[in-house]
Amino acid sequence: MVRESLGQILLSTILSGNFVLAMFLGMCPFLGVTHSVSLAFPLGLATTFVIVIASLSAYVLNIILSMLHLEFLRLICYIVVIASAVQLVEMFVKKRSPALFRAMGIYLPLITTNCAVLGVALFQTARDYDFAQSMTFALGGGAGFTLALVMLASVRERVQLSNVPDMMQGTALTLMLAGILSLGFMGFAGLGG
Protein backbone atom coordinates (compact mmCIF):
# COMPACT_ATOMS: atom_id res chain seq x y z
CA MET A 1 0.00 0.00 0.00
CA VAL A 2 1.34 3.42 -0.94
CA ARG A 3 1.54 5.69 2.08
CA GLU A 4 -0.65 8.75 1.67
CA SER A 5 1.04 12.08 2.29
CA LEU A 6 -0.21 14.26 5.14
CA GLY A 7 -1.49 16.90 2.73
CA GLN A 8 -3.52 14.31 0.86
CA ILE A 9 -5.12 13.05 4.07
CA LEU A 10 -5.97 16.56 5.24
CA LEU A 11 -7.48 17.59 1.94
CA SER A 12 -9.48 14.42 1.46
CA THR A 13 -10.94 14.34 4.99
CA ILE A 14 -12.07 17.97 4.78
CA LEU A 15 -13.41 17.99 1.23
CA SER A 16 -13.74 14.86 -0.90
CA GLY A 17 -14.12 12.42 2.00
CA ASN A 18 -16.00 14.75 4.32
CA PHE A 19 -17.08 12.79 7.40
CA VAL A 20 -20.66 13.98 7.34
CA LEU A 21 -21.46 14.45 3.69
CA ALA A 22 -19.53 11.57 2.15
CA MET A 23 -19.12 9.01 4.94
CA PHE A 24 -22.28 9.66 6.96
CA LEU A 25 -20.57 9.83 10.32
CA GLY A 26 -22.14 12.04 12.97
CA MET A 27 -25.58 12.41 11.44
CA CYS A 28 -27.46 13.00 14.70
CA PRO A 29 -25.90 16.36 15.61
CA PHE A 30 -25.81 17.21 11.91
CA LEU A 31 -29.61 17.02 11.74
CA GLY A 32 -30.24 18.03 15.35
CA VAL A 33 -28.25 21.13 16.26
CA THR A 34 -27.98 22.92 12.94
CA HIS A 35 -30.78 25.41 13.67
CA SER A 36 -28.29 28.26 14.06
CA VAL A 37 -24.66 28.94 13.29
CA SER A 38 -23.99 30.21 16.83
CA LEU A 39 -24.79 26.72 18.15
CA ALA A 40 -23.33 24.65 15.33
CA PHE A 41 -19.86 26.22 15.47
CA PRO A 42 -19.07 25.59 19.18
CA LEU A 43 -20.44 22.07 18.93
CA GLY A 44 -18.20 21.48 15.92
CA LEU A 45 -15.19 22.69 17.90
CA ALA A 46 -16.06 20.55 20.92
CA THR A 47 -16.44 17.51 18.66
CA THR A 48 -13.12 18.27 16.95
CA PHE A 49 -11.42 18.35 20.34
CA VAL A 50 -12.94 15.00 21.33
CA ILE A 51 -11.99 13.52 17.95
CA VAL A 52 -8.33 14.51 18.39
CA ILE A 53 -8.22 13.15 21.96
CA ALA A 54 -9.92 9.94 20.83
CA SER A 55 -7.53 9.52 17.93
CA LEU A 56 -4.52 10.06 20.17
CA SER A 57 -5.74 7.58 22.79
CA ALA A 58 -6.79 5.06 20.17
CA TYR A 59 -3.30 5.14 18.71
CA VAL A 60 -1.68 4.44 22.08
CA LEU A 61 -4.32 1.87 23.07
CA ASN A 62 -3.90 0.02 19.81
CA ILE A 63 -0.15 -0.40 20.41
CA ILE A 64 -0.73 -1.69 23.95
CA LEU A 65 -3.54 -4.05 22.93
CA SER A 66 -1.62 -5.54 20.00
CA MET A 67 1.35 -6.06 22.30
CA LEU A 68 -0.84 -8.03 24.71
CA HIS A 69 -2.79 -9.77 21.88
CA LEU A 70 -6.09 -8.44 23.19
CA GLU A 71 -7.45 -7.03 19.93
CA PHE A 72 -10.97 -8.18 20.70
CA LEU A 73 -11.10 -5.64 23.54
CA ARG A 74 -10.34 -2.78 21.14
CA LEU A 75 -13.91 -1.57 20.66
CA ILE A 76 -14.72 -1.58 24.38
CA CYS A 77 -11.52 0.28 25.27
CA TYR A 78 -12.08 2.90 22.57
CA ILE A 79 -15.59 3.69 23.66
CA VAL A 80 -14.65 4.00 27.33
CA VAL A 81 -11.86 6.44 26.49
CA ILE A 82 -14.20 8.47 24.30
CA ALA A 83 -16.83 8.61 27.05
CA SER A 84 -14.23 9.95 29.48
CA ALA A 85 -13.02 12.57 27.01
CA VAL A 86 -16.58 13.76 26.50
CA GLN A 87 -17.04 14.03 30.26
CA LEU A 88 -13.94 16.26 30.33
CA VAL A 89 -15.27 18.56 27.62
CA GLU A 90 -18.64 18.71 29.33
CA MET A 91 -17.09 19.87 32.61
CA PHE A 92 -14.97 22.43 30.75
CA VAL A 93 -17.91 23.95 28.86
CA LYS A 94 -20.08 23.97 32.00
CA LYS A 95 -17.41 25.94 33.86
CA ARG A 96 -16.51 28.36 31.07
CA SER A 97 -19.90 29.10 29.57
CA PRO A 98 -23.05 27.94 31.40
CA ALA A 99 -25.27 29.59 28.76
CA LEU A 100 -23.69 27.62 25.96
CA PHE A 101 -23.89 24.49 28.11
CA ARG A 102 -27.66 24.90 28.44
CA ALA A 103 -28.11 25.69 24.75
CA MET A 104 -26.27 22.57 23.63
CA GLY A 105 -28.26 20.48 26.08
CA ILE A 106 -28.41 16.77 25.39
CA TYR A 107 -26.20 17.03 22.33
CA LEU A 108 -23.06 17.61 24.40
CA PRO A 109 -23.08 14.26 26.23
CA LEU A 110 -24.31 12.68 23.02
CA ILE A 111 -20.90 13.33 21.44
CA THR A 112 -20.09 9.97 23.04
CA THR A 113 -22.42 8.26 20.60
CA ASN A 114 -21.27 10.44 17.71
CA CYS A 115 -20.14 8.01 15.05
CA ALA A 116 -17.55 10.48 13.82
CA VAL A 117 -15.52 10.11 17.01
CA LEU A 118 -15.56 6.34 17.11
CA GLY A 119 -15.28 6.29 13.32
CA VAL A 120 -11.95 8.13 13.37
CA ALA A 121 -10.54 5.66 15.88
CA LEU A 122 -11.76 2.65 13.88
CA PHE A 123 -10.76 3.93 10.44
CA GLN A 124 -7.24 4.90 11.49
CA THR A 125 -6.77 1.41 12.92
CA ALA A 126 -8.19 -0.24 9.82
CA ARG A 127 -5.98 1.84 7.52
CA ASP A 128 -2.78 1.35 9.56
CA TYR A 129 -2.00 5.05 9.88
CA ASP A 130 1.17 6.05 11.72
CA PHE A 131 1.15 8.72 14.40
CA ALA A 132 1.41 11.83 12.18
CA GLN A 133 -1.14 10.44 9.75
CA SER A 134 -3.60 9.67 12.57
CA MET A 135 -3.33 13.19 13.97
CA THR A 136 -3.83 14.77 10.53
CA PHE A 137 -6.77 12.47 9.89
CA ALA A 138 -8.38 13.47 13.19
CA LEU A 139 -7.78 17.21 12.71
CA GLY A 140 -9.02 17.14 9.13
CA GLY A 141 -12.05 15.09 10.11
CA GLY A 142 -12.95 17.53 12.87
CA ALA A 143 -12.49 20.52 10.57
CA GLY A 144 -14.62 18.86 7.89
CA PHE A 145 -17.32 18.07 10.45
CA THR A 146 -17.37 21.69 11.69
CA LEU A 147 -17.44 22.95 8.11
CA ALA A 148 -20.43 20.77 7.19
CA LEU A 149 -22.29 21.72 10.39
CA VAL A 150 -21.77 25.45 9.88
CA MET A 151 -22.70 25.27 6.19
CA LEU A 152 -25.97 23.45 6.81
CA ALA A 153 -26.78 25.76 9.73
CA SER A 154 -26.31 28.88 7.62
CA VAL A 155 -28.47 27.45 4.82
CA ARG A 156 -31.18 26.55 7.31
CA GLU A 157 -31.10 30.05 8.85
CA ARG A 158 -31.88 31.49 5.42
CA VAL A 159 -34.52 28.95 4.53
CA GLN A 160 -36.44 29.89 7.68
CA LEU A 161 -37.19 33.27 6.12
CA SER A 162 -38.58 31.83 2.91
CA ASN A 163 -41.93 30.30 2.15
CA VAL A 164 -41.67 26.52 2.34
CA PRO A 165 -44.71 24.25 1.78
CA ASP A 166 -46.02 22.71 5.01
CA MET A 167 -45.35 19.18 3.75
CA MET A 168 -41.64 19.87 3.44
CA GLN A 169 -41.13 21.39 6.90
CA GLY A 170 -38.92 19.64 9.41
CA THR A 171 -36.63 16.71 8.84
CA ALA A 172 -37.59 16.20 5.18
CA LEU A 173 -36.42 19.72 4.31
CA THR A 174 -33.17 19.32 6.26
CA LEU A 175 -32.44 16.04 4.51
CA MET A 176 -33.03 17.55 1.07
CA LEU A 177 -30.73 20.49 1.91
CA ALA A 178 -28.10 18.07 3.18
CA GLY A 179 -28.46 16.06 -0.02
CA ILE A 180 -27.82 19.13 -2.16
CA LEU A 181 -24.79 20.05 -0.02
CA SER A 182 -23.52 16.51 -0.39
CA LEU A 183 -24.04 16.72 -4.15
CA GLY A 184 -21.88 19.86 -4.13
CA PHE A 185 -19.14 18.13 -2.15
CA MET A 186 -19.10 15.30 -4.69
CA GLY A 187 -17.52 17.81 -7.04
CA PHE A 188 -14.35 17.50 -4.95
CA ALA A 189 -14.10 13.77 -5.69
CA GLY A 190 -10.62 12.89 -6.85
CA LEU A 191 -9.02 15.73 -4.93
CA GLY A 192 -6.30 14.45 -2.64
CA GLY A 193 -6.85 10.87 -3.84
Binding site: L21, A22, M23, F24, L25, G26, M27, C28, F30, L31, F72, L75, I76, I79, V80, A83, P109, L110, T112, T113, N114, C115, V117, L118, G119, L122, F123, A126, D166, M167, M168, G170, T171, A172, L173, L175, M176, A178, G179, I180, S182, L183, M186
Partner: protein, 217 residues
Protein backbone atom coordinates in the same frame (compact mmCIF):
# COMPACT_ATOMS: atom_id res chain seq x y z
CA UNK B 1 -48.53 -7.19 35.18
CA UNK B 2 -52.31 -7.63 35.52
CA UNK B 3 -52.75 -3.88 35.45
CA UNK B 4 -54.67 -2.68 32.39
CA UNK B 5 -52.33 0.30 31.95
CA UNK B 6 -49.43 -2.00 31.20
CA UNK B 7 -49.22 -2.54 27.43
CA UNK B 8 -49.63 -6.13 26.30
CA UNK B 9 -46.75 -8.07 24.81
CA UNK B 10 -48.18 -7.58 21.33
CA UNK B 11 -48.43 -3.80 21.83
CA UNK B 12 -44.86 -3.69 23.11
CA UNK B 13 -43.76 -5.55 20.01
CA UNK B 14 -45.63 -3.48 17.43
CA UNK B 15 -44.79 -0.10 18.99
CA UNK B 16 -41.45 0.17 17.25
CA UNK B 17 -42.49 -1.64 14.11
CA UNK B 18 -44.55 1.13 12.59
CA UNK B 19 -46.18 3.71 14.90
CA UNK B 20 -42.91 4.83 16.41
CA UNK B 21 -40.59 3.56 13.69
CA UNK B 22 -37.00 4.38 14.74
CA UNK B 23 -36.04 5.76 11.35
CA UNK B 24 -39.09 7.58 10.03
CA UNK B 25 -40.71 8.75 13.26
CA UNK B 26 -37.96 9.04 15.86
CA UNK B 27 -35.14 9.75 13.36
CA UNK B 28 -32.57 7.79 15.38
CA UNK B 29 -29.56 5.83 14.16
CA UNK B 30 -29.03 7.87 11.03
CA UNK B 31 -25.38 6.99 10.33
CA UNK B 32 -25.86 3.34 9.34
CA UNK B 33 -29.19 4.27 7.75
CA UNK B 34 -27.43 6.40 5.19
CA UNK B 35 -24.12 4.62 4.88
CA UNK B 36 -25.00 0.97 4.26
CA UNK B 37 -28.30 1.30 2.40
CA UNK B 38 -26.80 1.08 -1.09
CA UNK B 39 -28.49 -2.30 -1.61
CA UNK B 40 -31.42 -4.15 -0.09
CA UNK B 41 -29.37 -7.13 1.06
CA UNK B 42 -26.85 -4.93 2.91
CA UNK B 43 -29.72 -3.10 4.58
CA UNK B 44 -31.36 -6.30 5.83
CA UNK B 45 -28.09 -7.68 7.21
CA UNK B 46 -27.28 -4.40 8.95
CA UNK B 47 -30.82 -4.23 10.33
CA UNK B 48 -30.70 -7.76 11.70
CA UNK B 49 -27.26 -7.21 13.27
CA UNK B 50 -28.60 -4.09 14.97
CA UNK B 51 -31.74 -5.96 16.08
CA UNK B 52 -29.62 -8.63 17.76
CA UNK B 53 -27.45 -6.06 19.55
CA UNK B 54 -30.49 -4.02 20.57
CA UNK B 55 -32.46 -6.97 21.93
CA UNK B 56 -29.50 -8.53 23.75
CA UNK B 57 -28.35 -5.23 25.29
CA UNK B 58 -31.86 -4.26 26.38
CA UNK B 59 -32.33 -7.67 27.98
CA UNK B 60 -29.09 -7.39 29.96
CA UNK B 61 -29.62 -3.74 30.88
CA UNK B 62 -33.09 -4.57 32.13
CA UNK B 63 -31.78 -7.55 34.09
CA UNK B 64 -29.13 -5.40 35.77
CA UNK B 65 -31.29 -2.31 36.22
CA UNK B 66 -31.25 -2.50 40.03
CA UNK B 67 -27.57 -3.39 40.22
CA UNK B 68 -26.18 -0.47 38.18
CA UNK B 69 -25.75 2.77 40.16
CA UNK B 70 -27.40 5.77 38.52
CA UNK B 71 -24.16 7.77 38.27
CA UNK B 72 -22.32 5.31 36.04
CA UNK B 73 -25.28 3.96 34.10
CA UNK B 74 -24.37 5.42 30.69
CA UNK B 75 -20.84 4.02 30.88
CA UNK B 76 -22.20 0.63 31.97
CA UNK B 77 -24.75 0.57 29.13
CA UNK B 78 -22.05 1.47 26.62
CA UNK B 79 -19.89 -1.36 27.99
CA UNK B 80 -22.74 -3.84 27.62
CA UNK B 81 -23.53 -2.66 24.09
CA UNK B 82 -19.87 -2.75 23.03
CA UNK B 83 -19.61 -6.35 24.24
CA UNK B 84 -22.55 -7.51 22.13
CA UNK B 85 -21.30 -5.54 19.13
CA UNK B 86 -17.92 -7.28 19.39
CA UNK B 87 -19.72 -10.64 19.43
CA UNK B 88 -21.76 -9.67 16.35
CA UNK B 89 -18.68 -8.33 14.58
CA UNK B 90 -16.74 -11.58 15.01
CA UNK B 91 -19.82 -13.71 14.18
CA UNK B 92 -20.40 -11.92 10.86
CA UNK B 93 -16.72 -12.16 10.02
CA UNK B 94 -16.88 -15.92 10.58
CA UNK B 95 -20.16 -16.46 8.72
CA UNK B 96 -19.73 -14.33 5.61
CA UNK B 97 -16.53 -12.55 4.74
CA UNK B 98 -18.00 -10.80 1.69
CA UNK B 99 -20.79 -9.30 3.80
CA UNK B 100 -18.24 -8.28 6.41
CA UNK B 101 -16.25 -6.43 3.78
CA UNK B 102 -19.36 -4.74 2.38
CA UNK B 103 -20.46 -3.43 5.76
CA UNK B 104 -16.92 -2.61 6.89
CA UNK B 105 -16.47 -0.49 9.98
CA UNK B 106 -20.20 0.17 10.19
CA UNK B 107 -20.79 -3.06 12.12
CA UNK B 108 -18.52 -1.82 14.90
CA UNK B 109 -20.16 1.56 14.65
CA UNK B 110 -23.42 -0.01 15.93
CA UNK B 111 -21.95 0.91 19.34
CA UNK B 112 -22.41 4.55 18.44
CA UNK B 113 -25.94 4.04 17.11
CA UNK B 114 -28.10 6.41 19.17
CA UNK B 115 -31.05 4.03 18.80
CA UNK B 116 -29.41 1.33 20.95
CA UNK B 117 -28.29 3.61 23.78
CA UNK B 118 -31.52 5.59 23.51
CA UNK B 119 -33.73 2.53 23.97
CA UNK B 120 -31.54 1.14 26.78
CA UNK B 121 -31.82 4.43 28.65
CA UNK B 122 -35.43 5.34 27.84
CA UNK B 123 -37.13 1.96 28.02
CA UNK B 124 -35.07 -1.06 29.09
CA UNK B 125 -33.78 0.57 32.28
CA UNK B 126 -37.36 1.02 33.53
CA UNK B 127 -39.11 -2.29 32.82
CA UNK B 128 -38.55 -5.99 33.51
CA UNK B 129 -36.52 -8.16 31.08
CA UNK B 130 -39.38 -9.75 29.08
CA UNK B 131 -41.17 -6.58 27.88
CA UNK B 132 -37.80 -4.87 27.41
CA UNK B 133 -36.58 -7.61 25.08
CA UNK B 134 -39.87 -7.80 23.18
CA UNK B 135 -39.98 -4.05 22.71
CA UNK B 136 -36.33 -3.94 21.61
CA UNK B 137 -36.94 -6.72 19.07
CA UNK B 138 -39.89 -4.78 17.66
CA UNK B 139 -37.81 -1.62 17.45
CA UNK B 140 -35.00 -3.53 15.77
CA UNK B 141 -37.35 -5.04 13.19
CA UNK B 142 -38.85 -1.59 12.58
CA UNK B 143 -35.32 -0.34 12.02
CA UNK B 144 -34.68 -3.21 9.59
CA UNK B 145 -37.90 -2.39 7.75
CA UNK B 146 -36.92 1.27 7.42
CA UNK B 147 -33.42 0.39 6.23
CA UNK B 148 -34.78 -2.02 3.63
CA UNK B 149 -37.29 0.54 2.36
CA UNK B 150 -34.46 3.04 1.79
CA UNK B 151 -32.00 0.42 0.54
CA UNK B 152 -34.55 -1.09 -1.86
CA UNK B 153 -35.34 2.25 -3.51
CA UNK B 154 -31.66 3.16 -3.78
CA UNK B 155 -30.78 -0.19 -5.32
CA UNK B 156 -33.63 -0.08 -7.84
CA UNK B 157 -32.90 3.48 -8.98
CA UNK B 158 -29.13 3.43 -8.75
CA UNK B 159 -28.40 -0.06 -9.97
CA UNK B 160 -31.55 -1.34 -11.69
CA UNK B 161 -31.65 -4.40 -9.44
CA UNK B 162 -33.57 -5.59 -6.38
CA UNK B 163 -31.87 -8.12 -4.09
CA UNK B 164 -29.37 -8.61 -6.94
CA UNK B 165 -32.09 -9.49 -9.50
CA UNK B 166 -32.02 -7.35 -12.62
CA UNK B 167 -35.35 -5.56 -13.08
CA UNK B 168 -35.16 -3.55 -16.25
CA UNK B 169 -32.96 -5.52 -18.65
CA UNK B 170 -29.56 -4.48 -19.88
CA UNK B 171 -30.57 -1.20 -21.54
CA UNK B 172 -31.33 0.38 -18.19
CA UNK B 173 -29.31 3.53 -17.57
CA UNK B 174 -28.68 3.53 -13.81
CA UNK B 175 -29.26 6.71 -11.83
CA UNK B 176 -25.81 6.55 -10.27
CA UNK B 177 -26.30 9.44 -7.85
CA UNK B 178 -28.75 7.28 -5.89
CA UNK B 179 -26.04 4.84 -4.75
CA UNK B 180 -23.64 7.69 -4.00
CA UNK B 181 -23.87 9.62 -0.70
CA UNK B 182 -26.36 12.33 -1.83
CA UNK B 183 -28.84 9.60 -2.83
CA UNK B 184 -29.11 8.52 0.81
CA UNK B 185 -30.28 11.97 1.84
CA UNK B 186 -32.67 12.30 -1.10
CA UNK B 187 -34.34 8.89 -0.68
CA UNK B 188 -34.75 9.33 3.08
CA UNK B 189 -36.16 12.84 2.54
CA UNK B 190 -38.43 11.47 -0.17
CA UNK B 191 -39.88 8.78 2.11
CA UNK B 192 -40.54 11.36 4.84
CA UNK B 193 -42.30 13.49 2.25
CA UNK B 194 -44.47 10.57 1.13
CA UNK B 195 -45.49 9.90 4.74
CA UNK B 196 -46.26 13.59 5.32
CA UNK B 197 -48.47 13.64 2.20
CA UNK B 198 -50.23 10.46 3.29
CA UNK B 199 -50.88 11.82 6.80
CA UNK B 200 -52.19 15.11 5.39
CA UNK B 201 -54.53 13.23 3.04
CA UNK B 202 -55.82 11.08 5.89
CA UNK B 203 -56.44 14.16 8.05
CA UNK B 204 -58.27 15.87 5.17
CA UNK B 205 -60.48 12.82 4.55
CA UNK B 206 -61.27 12.53 8.25
CA UNK B 207 -62.19 16.22 8.41
CA UNK B 208 -64.34 15.88 5.28
CA UNK B 209 -66.23 12.85 6.60
CA UNK B 210 -66.78 14.56 9.98
CA UNK B 211 -68.27 17.54 8.13
CA UNK B 212 -70.44 15.22 6.02
CA UNK B 213 -71.84 13.60 9.15
CA UNK B 214 -72.63 17.02 10.58
CA UNK B 215 -74.48 18.10 7.44
CA UNK B 216 -76.35 14.82 7.29
CA UNK B 217 -77.52 15.26 10.88
Amino acid sequence: MMNTNVPSTWEEFTEGLWERNPIFVMVLGMCPTMAVTVSAINSISMGLATTFVLAASCWLVSLLRHAIPKEVRIASYIGIIATFVTVTDYAIQALSLSLYEALGAYIQLIVANCLVLGRAEAHAAKVSPWPATVNATGMGLGFTLGLTMIGGVREILGNGTFFGLSLFGEHFQPWVVMVLPPGGFFVMGGWLLVFALWRARKARLAAASAEGVQHGA
